[in-house]
Symmetry: C2
Subunit: 124 residues, 2 copies
């Protein structure tokens, strides 16, 4: 049976505090999908990076990976850097299916929740 | 009567495509609060920057400004750069009330929507 993993791919930052909402997102997602391995991976400044994370998942038998860019905007990191990294990963791991979703900020549900938050912030 | 504005403060990026979800967030929020002026402002790489945006709002009679950091994680930009910029703005515009909300990524509703999106991405 295929073994699936979900990688939440985020930018990374110098301040350790930056990571907190991404860790909460990972934990919330993991709780709702206990059968899928849910992990974080970072573009820069934080560990683990995407390539070692994929290698480590594949070593545990994962054969199907979905990467969700946890970015609000789709700029060069999402449109150029990530596809290049995934192309390389597909060459390294030819038997592993790797899919890349759109950035979370493009999702209408996420935009709706951010809108609600902005309105609440103004009136609080 | 006080005239209110909401500034959605985002990082900015080189690629113009990056801006799209922030513009949608601005438009969605504006539609639900037609009585409040809703604008974007960027930390770097994109215009308008925060200080000229505040100056321009104040020039139109705005006296109450809420800044919402449209960032997922709270790193140095949100915890250090933004407070410094706002302190400076309060000195420049002593009669204007300027409040800063928490980053959108810290909101439980936004985290819930991102979790839903990640789960949908895996199963699509």
């Amino acid at each position: 049976m295929e073994k699936r993993a979900l990688i939440l791919f985020a930018h990374g930052a110098r301040a350790d505090s930056w990571k907190a909402p991404f860790e909460r997102l990972r934990d919330l997602t993991q709780r709702r999908m206990p059968e899928v391995r849910v992990t974080l991976a970072f573009l820069e400044l934080m560990e683990p990076r995407l390539q070692p994370q994929v290698t480590s998942l594949v070593a545990t038998g994962v054969t199907d990976i979905t990467v969700v860019p946890v970015f609000l905007g789709q700029g060069a990191h999402v449109l150029r850097d990530l596809p290049l990294m995934v192309d390389e990963l597909r060459v390294i791991h030819p038997k592993v299916a790797i899919r890349v979703a759109g950035a979370v900020g493009e999702d209408p549900g996420v935009l709706k929740a951010m809108t609600d938050y902005c309105i609440a912030a103004l009136n609080s």
